[in-house]
Symmetry: C2
Subunit: 217 residues, 2 copies
């Protein structure tokens, strides 16, 4: 059965692939699972019909027969569990990969999102200039710790996993910020993720929604 996911009708990041459907698209491409996409306007996301699927009125959702899921992390985990390729078979390695999924979303993403939100909604506040460096320091603490752990490895725990998939999408929010670029191993790590064929297919598909042109290739 082909699952259906939801995504923004109009990309708020103009096709940069930072919305959370990108994670789900990437995971589906990694495992070779075709999928349908239903596009939603910002007002449709907040309507009762969509809130039946997603109580917080966001994207993405995932529908597969009777099953309805929300939360990109949970959807990626569901895909990884159903297919091979995103989580190792060895029980301990699998538990560690799942740990990186939670670390990406619970420990690394929040300060990055806070900085992004401040730049979006607090730009005109009197305190913005004083507060932004505090937020950026919080981001740097996490990046420094992550950089130390990654070292010169390709991925966070041996082979590429759903943990790396989520971590790369979290770090990508900092592309062009000048912050991520100071950690050369993390920059290379993000580039390594973005170079994966499955990533590129997912990226092109979400970009095609924005440009209105079918993906090339």
């Amino acid at each position: 059965m082909i699952p259906t996911i939801t995504a923004f009708e109009r990309s708020p990041d103009r096709g940069r692939g930072l919305a959370r459907d990108m994670r789900v698209r990437w995971a589906l491409e990694e495992v070779g699972q075709p999928y349908d996409v239903r596009l939603l306007s910002f007002s449709e996301m907040k309507e009762a019909a969509h809130r039946m699927l997603h109580p917080f009125g966001q994207i993405p959702t995932y529908e597969e027969g009777d099953l309805v899921l929300f939360e990109s992390g949970a959807i990626v985990f569901h895909i990884a569990k159903q297919h091979t390729g995103l989580l190792p078979d060895d029980a301990n390695a699998r538990a560690r990969a799942i740990t990186w999924m939670f670390a990406a979303l619970s420990t690394v993403e929040p300060p990055i999102v806070e900085r992004g939100m401040a730049m979006l909604v607090e730009r005109d506040k009197a305190w913005h200039e004083e507060r932004l460096p505090i937020l950026e320091d919080r981001v740097r603490v996490r990046l420094g710790e992550l950089s130390n752990r990654l070292g010169d490895a390709d991925w966070l725990d041996d082979a590429f996993s759903a943990g790396d998939l989520l971590m790369v999408t979290v770090l990508r929010r900092l592309n062009g910020s000048g912050i991520l670029e100071k950690y050369t191993n993390l920059s290379a790590y993000v580039a390594r993720g973005e170079a994966r064929p499955a990533y590129k297919r997912a990226f092109d598909d979400q970009l095609a929604v924005f440009t209105g042109k079918p993906p090339t290739g």
Copy 2:
């Protein structure tokens, strides 16, 4: 094999059970798994020896033979997977319970933690008084959505699960704030979690670390 978790040597919340080891203690109590606790000072948490276990220098960690995990969400998931009682057997119900685990940590917790951090570290800032209501509104949006979804049910998706366990620990951060109390079904939901015998045992054990007295009963 009895696992070992780490916790704060000195409870920053004076035994209110808001540190993230509480989640892991509660999960272990729900499934009846005994465990050892190793206490860490704030400086020990940031030392290289602990960072080998936890790259972000935090608690809790979980050690079980060769396996080392961090991230409370991942540890609770690991416990839920190894034992019965925290995740339903039915595949779809299980995927939905896991969705609530991610929702608790990725969608509901971040604005609650941001508010808590502002009250802790921004109290003396010129902008605190203007910014706090903005943060509280962000919390209220999520609580309103969660309250609508919960309705008059006991738990988020039929039977109590690891999703409820995490959500209750997230919402407990608002106990006494006057914010949570406006959502009577959410207050009752938190109280329902706190009334579980496993919760009480976990709470008493973490409190005993703070008071230095062995738990009663």
